[in-house]
């Protein structure tokens, strides 16, 4: 490392800061995205009240809390970098000459972009939840403590899936938008990010929790509302994170030389 250059962590931090300030620069236009997310959350809460109105109050409360926390942490429960976008629009060429690891830079950018959303959406939604009749608090202090490593593992699995899909994109030449649509469509239903897996029909609730998508959203949300054994859920997440990262690094190592940036 030459004198005058910041250490590697400092470079990632600087990248994250740039991404955060860039995302903040959208100003009022970010608010449009927050309003849309809030509307969707309010619609989901209303639907749950409609369909579970006759259920035991604690079950309704748990589902409302689950839905609210899922909405508040939506970015983290479906963690995605913009590595695919960078390949698609040609920015990847500059990323490869940056003095940091390519995927590390993608992760730093993502973490930076999340910062304004955490301040402008996540925290206000959690703080103002009682105004819409939802108790946002975790089931217990233990649940709150366990939620931290659980959501960190959820993010790690999301990033591994992201790297796997980008590698697949590089291998096949498939469109970025199709990859994203595939992930969003199936991830939304099968991860438990919108409806708790226990409310899926046809016995899906029995086996979906064993899949990696459930470790991305369902596991941390179940821990927050006190549903299930946190130790077992976190162990399952750790296993999927390890498998996911081994597979992702192997796939990325093979495919990074095949990358074609499009630009435009």
């Amino acid at each position: 490392m030459s004198i005058g250059h910041p250490p590697e962590f400092g470079r990632y931090r600087a990248s994250a800061w740039l991404a955060a300030t860039g995302a903040s620069g959208d100003g009022l236009y970010s608010a449009i995205r927050y309003v849309i997310r809030l509307l969707r959350l309010l619609v989901l809460l209303t639907i749950w009240r409609g369909v579970l109105g006759n259920e035991d109050g604690s079950e309704l409360g748990r589902v409302l809390t689950y839905t609210l926390v899922a909405g508040a942490f939506a970015n983290q429960l479906d963690a995605r970098t913009d590595l695919g976008d960078a390949i698609w629009d040609g920015r990847i060429a500059t990323w490869f000459v940056a003095p940091v690891r390519v995927f590390g830079l993608a992760v730093a950018n993502t973490l930076g972009r999340w910062a304004p959303s955490l301040v402008g959406y996540t925290i206000p939604v959690l703080a103002l939840a009682p105004l819409v009749g939802v108790d946002p608090r975790p089931a217990s202090i233990g649940a709150a403590v366990a939620f931290v490593p659980s959501i960190a593992l959820a993010v790690a699995i999301g990033f591994a899936l992201d790297l796997l899909l980008v590698s697949l994109m590089a291998r096949t030449g498939w469109s970025l938008w199709d990859m994203q649509r595939l992930r969003v469509t199936f991830g939304t239903v099968l991860s438990g990010a919108v409806i708790p897996l226990g409310y899926l029909p046809w016995g899906l609730a029995d086996w979906l929790p064993w899949f990696p998508l459930a470790s991305m959203a369902s596991a941390p949300l179940r821990i927050w509302v006190g549903d299930g054994d946190p130790g077992l859920l976190i162990a399952g997440q750790a296993a999927w994170a390890m498998i996911g990262w081994i597979a992702a690094l192997a796939a990325w190592g093979r495919q990074r030389e095949r990358l074609v940036g499009y630009g435009g």
């Binding site: 236009y29 509307l39 969707r40 989901l44 639907i47 409609g50 369909v51 199709d178 939304t188 239903v189």
Partner: protein, 290 residues
């Protein structure tokens, strides 16, 4: 765009050109498919799976709970089929970022529309026609609707089908009206608002697949005006199926669509006025995406 040749033609003359433009769009789309059948099958299959799947959450929940509120499973399925068909029509007739017009404005590609030797409205009406590659969603929408209708106690006479088609067209117009109105922001903020149409479209597609009953007056009003997700399928399906304690007029969605079309066109016109004075920064030295 007012060269001498255009001034010599009437609006009616340009309207007669629409079938020829659609024919051209069809041939170009077919050529794309024939050039790479494998790729075309991939796109069609993906659309056939993913567009209806956007309503999978609603369907699975309805199936598990044997309905959602006053909506039976078959009625929810009708709503999802209707929403899929609306999305399919947009994919067939307004693709290539015609519906997502903020992208063209933000990227400076709006000039490409303005330099064509035909009125802007004709370009917008005909340029996004891709009936082959966009057809999968239409086919899926029709299939889901047909399946649901066989399970509903509906008296589907000619009048009902007339109202169905009127509501369907109105839903498409309402979505376009809202997307054009919001996209006008890109005339003032081309970079920040380049993707505003995407945000609005996402809101309409994600919220449009839910029965929106019981949301309260303010939210419901917002969801049939500013972000008209309720017009994508909920309000028309409610009217066509007679869901709810109080009947929804069959003309409600068409009336709302007319209002949104007027607002969308007026807002876009104001933005276009600004564009005439400031132009696009795309081709300047410091232009966006240069």
């Amino acid at each position: 765009m007012a060269d001498g040749r255009q001034q010599a033609h009437t609006t009616w003359w340009f309207l007669t050109r629409v079938p020829a433009r659609y024919s051209l769009g069809f041939r170009m789309d077919l050529a794309f498919v024939l050039r790479s059948p494998g790729l075309a099958i991939y796109y069609l299959a993906l659309d056939a799976i993913l567009i209806p799947a956007s309503g999978a959450t609603t369907f699975l929940l309805a199936e598990r709970l044997t309905g959602l509120g006053s909506w039976s499973v078959a009625q929810v399925t009708f709503l999802l089929g209707y929403a899929t068909l609306v999305e399919g029509i947009l994919a067939v007739a307004f693709t290539y970022n015609v519906s997502h017009i903020s992208r063209r404005i933000g990227r400076g590609q709006f000039d490409h529309l303005l330099v064509q030797p035909q009125p802007l409205w004709l370009s917008l009406l005909s340029e996004g026609f891709a009936p082959v590659t966009g057809g999968a969603a239409v086919a899926m929408g029709i299939a889901i609707l047909a399946w649901s209708i066989t399970r509903l106690p509906l008296d589907t006479d000619i009048a009902w089908w007339g109202f169905f088609l009127a509501n369907l067209g109105a839903s498409v117009v309402a979505v376009l009206g809202a997307m054009f109105a919001w996209s006008s922001l890109a005339f003032w903020a081309p970079v920040a608002a380049e993707e505003v149409a995407t945000n609005v479209h996402e809101a309409l597609t994600t919220l449009g697949v839910f029965p929106l009953d019981g949301l309260g007056t303010v939210l419901t009003a917002g969801l049939v005006t500013a972000v008209p997700a309720g017009l994508v399928a909920w309000l028309p399906a409610r009217a066509l199926l007679g869901v709810g304690a109080t009947a929804t007029p069959l003309w409600a969605t068409p009336a709302a669509a007319v209002a949104l079309a007027i607002i969308g066109a007026a807002t876009f016109r104001v933005g276009l006025g600004r564009y005439r004075s400031v132009g696009s920064s795309r081709y300047t030295d410091f232009g966006h995406r240069r």
